[in-house]
């Protein structure tokens, strides 16, 4: 599964940055404070503009300000549009290692215990990706399932905002 992930990264890394530059998130301006849109946030972080992180592994590496990765319903597969941001975080963690906490979340649909498990899977997918990019920092995974929504509402927009992993 991991090798498949890496393979996917290699094949799509070129388009990833393009995608992140023209993010298709429906209503990014209405996102609430703690959950800014992952893709658009990447380009806001000047030191880590490159998806691969290659030209930013130096003193100037700054952790991206966007810290949220989003997922599809009942899925823990990393989205292609998360890759650039993940790579930026990986680069920052490699440049200045620190303890990381990944908090996995789910939307309110479905059962609470299943969603707790799903949130953990999502956080583990993020961890596996970071490790695959050479991150050696200790990474803790905690899942809140649907208990801690970013947007407290019952609609498609809220559900999308809530299916996430936050890196802390």
């Amino acid at each position: 599964m991991l090798s498949k992930t890496i393979k996917t990264i290699l094949t799509i890394s070129a388009v990833t940055f393009f995608l992140s530059a023209c993010s298709t998130t429906s209503t990014p301006d209405s996102a609430t404070g703690s959950s800014t849109d992952g893709s658009s946030g990447t380009s806001g972080s000047s030191a880590t503009t490159d998806g691969s992180g290659k030209n930013s592994v130096n003193d100037g590496v700054v952790a991206p300000t966007a810290t949220v990765f989003y997922f599809d319903f009942d899925s823990s597969v990393l989205r292609t549009d998360s890759r650039a941001l993940l790579d930026a975080h990986a680069a920052a963690l490699k440049a200045s290692p620190r303890s990381v906490r990944l908090e996995g979340h789910a939307d309110e649909r479905g059962t609470r215990e299943y969603n707790i498990a799903l949130g953990e899977r999502r956080a583990q997918a993020v961890r596996a990706y970071l490790v695959s990019r050479g991150v050696t920092s200790p990474i803790e995974v905690v899942s809140y399932g649907e208990e801690s929504p970013a947007v407290d509402a019952s609609n498609e927009y809220a559900w999308q905002q809530n299916r996430r992993v936050e890196i802390k």
Partner: protein, 432 residues
């Protein structure tokens, strides 16, 4: 089966309004669907021989209990032609005129430390006494217990099914503004709520022990999930698991000696059993998919659980001795959090169809799935009554988490919205 009395619907509404006006509970009852042909019953306001009014209208609580079961249509007191409280005062003709099939009367008197009720139940049609001058004594704060006791006895005498009106529920309340999570205990009608635990971090998955003395639940109070067992009488609690990763979905074995639970300490969510006395863990599932929401079979030899090993969440069963899981559900693309009915013949579960989450039952022998909740969506956390006649579940109404109940024949439904927060994850107690 029974003749539909034209006035009975109005009668039901009237008596319900009367009852709810008296309720001071944080969970308030609203009946969202009654049945078409309930058994018509007269529950005469009980006479009180002491001075002043009682703090509770006992007969009204009985009436409310029986109405919520979906099988009874109580007659509103204002429509009654007479108000007998002693057997010798009953005139059957008064009740036949109202179409009443059964009649309950009672007489409450004060005792040194509380109250005594003497009540009787009559079959109006055959003019026979079913229960004659039955006594029940309660403490001063026990009038609701008195009422639920009468409801249990009347319900069982008429339907042959043991009543579950004296049981309770445990549920989670989220007070969003105060940012409090509270584990709550209340009567099954939502009355007399008590706080068991308050936390700033999520509380979830309460599960009532089979002896009714303890609750197992998950608390994030340390910033990570941990499973606790708490004694309900003393409040004393013990942390059972605190592993890295998930500590989730505790469920008591029928003998109360073990918990089935979910841990991801070995990499992904697996079901384990924990011997509570010896603290020994036994791993039940071994699969890279999500395995969660274990519930025991009645004999304690097997577990049913949710797994996405087939791609989508579905219900599986496993016999603990052989460990080989078998898939139980095939209809719908999301079936989760199943529980066996007390007779072991069916499961209740969360079932998604056309992108809407309902509570459904599936007969195990035939595989037939019936959706019980059609008016609501985002339904979850079903918990069945110990008599198997109805279940309580969590849903949303106007953006707020509420509890609701439905009879297993889906004939009657009622909602229990909270006045002080979002409520969810009800766990129905066993018989006490």
């Amino acid at each position: 089966m029974k003749k539909v009395m034209k006035f009975s619907i109005q009668v039901i509404v009237a008596s319900f309004l009367f009852v709810s006006a008296l309720s001071h509970a944080e969970l308030t009852i609203s009946i969202t669907k009654g049945v078409d042909n309930p058994i018509v019953i007269g529950i005469v306001p009980f006479n009180y021989t002491g001075g002043g009014p009682l703090s509770e209208n006992v007969a009204a609580i009985v009436s409310d209990d029986l109405e919520r079961s979906g099988q009874f249509g109580p007659i509103a007191p204002e429509n009654m032609l007479s108000y007998p409280s002693l057997p010798q005062d009953v005139v059957f003709r008064d009740w036949r005129l109202l179409g009443s099939e059964y009649l309950v009367i009672g007489d409450i008197s004060p005792t040194a430390s509380g109250y005594q009720l003497v009540y009787s139940l009559f079959d109006v049609v055959s003019q026979k006494t079913i229960l004659f001058n039955q006594p029940i004594v309660v403490a001063r704060d026990g009038l609701r217990d008195m009422a639920h006791h009468v409801s249990d006895k009347v319900y069982e005498a008429i339907t042959g099914i043991r009543g579950a009106f004296s049981t309770e529920i445990i549920y989670v309340e989220h007070q969003k503004k105060a940012r409090n999570y509270r584990l709550m205990r209340a009567d099954m009608d939502g009355a007399r709520p008590k706080v068991l635990v308050t936390s700033k971090q999520p509380l979830l998955s309460p599960s009532w022990s089979p002896d009714g003395q303890s609750v197992a639940y998950v608390s994030f109070e340390s910033g990570r999930p941990a499973i606790y067992i708490q004694n309900l009488a003393t409040g004393q609690r013990e942390k059972m698991t605190n592993f890295k990763g998930l500590n989730s979905a505790p469920s008591w074995s029928p003998d109360g000696k073990k918990l089935a639970l979910v841990l991801s300490k070995d990499g992904n969510p697996e079901i384990y059993t924990l011997d509570i006395a010896t603290k020994r863990f036994t791993r039940v599932t071994k699969h890279f998919g999500i395995d969660t929401e274990p519930r025991w079979t009645a004999d304690g030899k097997g577990i049913i659980f949710t797994s996405n090993r087939g791609g989508k969440p579905q219900i599986y069963s496993v016999v603990l001795a052989d460990g080989y899981p078998q898939r139980l559900t095939f209809e719908g693309d999301y079936n989760a959090r199943a529980q066996l009915t007390p007779d072991g013949k069916s499961i209740i579960m969360v079932h998604r169809r056309n992108k809407v989450f309902h509570i459904a039952t599936q007969e195990l022998a035939t595989g037939t799935v019936r959706i019980l909740t059609t008016e609501t969506d985002l339904d979850e956390s079903p918990s069945i009554a110990p008599n198997g006649a109805s279940l309580i579940y969590a849903t949303k109404r106007n953006g707020k988490g509420i509890l609701a109940s439905v009879s297993l024949d889906a004939g009657s439904k009622f909602a229990l919205p909270s006045t002080s927060g979002d409520v969810r994850e009800p766990s129905w107690s066993p018989y006490f």
